[in-house]
């Protein structure tokens, strides 16, 4: 996705810069015409420059949209695997949004859930002591 969008950007910027330079040169010529003969009928901007500027813009917009790929999640705890969601944005409904948190084993409320007041500290100490004893 990234290479495609970057090549789109490259084409878009080349086209926009080229059309800008062409337009600049065209206006320089028009200025000279006006200076020599103030009553001369000045021509409008050539069609190919216009097409190039519009084309560059369209390439840029498409490149911007191509640069977004579907969301993938990497599990945090437990077995490492990649979960692919069939969407580009995140679902707004909280029950759906927390589904992905459950799938990735992520706990967005960890700072509250693991607050000392909510953790069985005696059990933790005991488990830690056992672990130390087993190591020794």
């Amino acid at each position: 996705m990234s290479i495609i969008s970057k090549s789109f950007y490259l084409i878009a910027w080349l086209q926009i810069i080229h059309s800008a330079v062409s337009s600049f040169e065209f206006h320089q010529v028009v200025k000279h015409i006006i200076l020599e003969n103030p009553d001369a009928q000045t021509p409008g901007l050539p069609v190919d420059i216009k097409l190039e500027a519009i084309c560059g813009l369209i390439f840029f917009i498409v490149g911007k949209f191509v640069s977004y790929s579907k969301i993938t999640h990497l599990t945090i705890r437990g077995e490492e695997r990649i979960i692919e969601a069939n969407q580009y944005l995140k679902l707004i409904a909280l029950n759906k949004a927390s589904n992905t948190d459950v799938l990735t084993n992520s706990d967005p409320y960890g700072e509250i859930n693991y607050h000392p007041a909510f953790v069985d500290i005696h059990y933790k100490r005991k488990a830690y002591k056992e672990y130390i004893n087993r190591k020794a």
């Binding site: 059309s19 519009i54 949209f65 977004y68 995140k90």
Partner: protein, 105 residues
């Protein structure tokens, strides 16, 4: 103040989606301003181009990134996609439009 736990929305997802939308709007509308300046559009033509490109980008956003269901991703889709960023993008568009318009001449 109601504390009913129904129809809750994830603030995290909301800000994620909004930042994506804002990024798309910012980049595309600034570039649109550049091309408007290169095309030497004046007054109504320029503003017309702004609204045309804005509509085009929004329709593309709804069909491509939202997969035709913006309600799943935004709590107030029409307002968020069309109105919320309008004046910010208009100011950015006018800036790049004026810049390109002046540099090219």
């Amino acid at each position: 103040m109601s504390y009913r736990f129904t129809g809750l929305q994830s603030a995290d997802s909301g800000s994620f989606n909004n930042s994506k939308l804002l990024q798309i709007h910012d980049t595309t509308m600034l570039t649109a301003g550049l091309s408007a300046g290169i095309l030497q559009l004046q007054s109504f033509a320029g503003f017309g181009m702004f609204f045309a490109v804005y509509t085009f980008v929004n329709l593309l956003f709804i069909s491509w990134l939202c997969q035709f269901r913006p309600g799943l991703y935004f709590s107030d889709p029409i307002h968020t996609i069309w109105v919320k960023n309008l004046f910010r993008e208009l100011a950015g568009f006018i800036m790049t439009w004026t810049l390109a318009f002046t540099l090219v001449r």
